[in-house]
Symmetry: C2
Subunit: 67 residues, 2 copies
DNA sequence: GTATAATGCAAAGCGTACTTGACAAATATT
DNA sequence: AATATTTGTCAAGTACGCTTTGCATTATAC
């Protein structure tokens, strides 16, 4: 799953640890999602998106889903 | 996590099994999400929402999340 | 009233999201 | 160059999303 997290985070000059703290998760979780190691859960996707003032659909790319 | 899935599904007169088939999952998964047994994954939340022509935020209620 | 469809629920099992701790490599700062 | 900050990754463990099977209950239809 591709996301715009890294570009949004860097635009605001935040470290992974700062973003993690802001959304209540760990640095490793942010790294894993940014690198594509796994897909965020729905609650975490919401927290990250709204932290940036965007909707989930604006931050996460679903074009790889069939249907 | 509250959702509008049941009301959207009934408005279209679909059974849980029909919705499940349409979004590529099982009837029990739809039941569990409707009843609040657990929260949908991000990909499934996307598939369900867009099956109804809505965004994730329009179908799922995130007001129970802290922050 | 009997059959059929639709739903709720439970148990066992699998894969994955997430945490914690720790280490190495890369980037920035001085 | 040396130091500090940031990031990638690995391993072990916990929790949860999801599947499959199966049974019981409620509603719809014949």
């Amino acid at each position: 799953m591709k996301t715009k997290i890294r570009e949004l985070r860097k635009a605001r000059k935040l470290s992974q640890e700062e973003l993690a703290g802001a959304v209540g998760t760990t640095r490793q979780t942010i790294t894993s999602i940014e690198v594509g190691k796994y897909t965020a859960s729905l609650p975490l996707a919401y927290k990250i998106s709204h932290y940036f003032g965007l909707t989930i659909e604006e931050v996460f790319d679903f074009s790889d889903l069939e249907d």
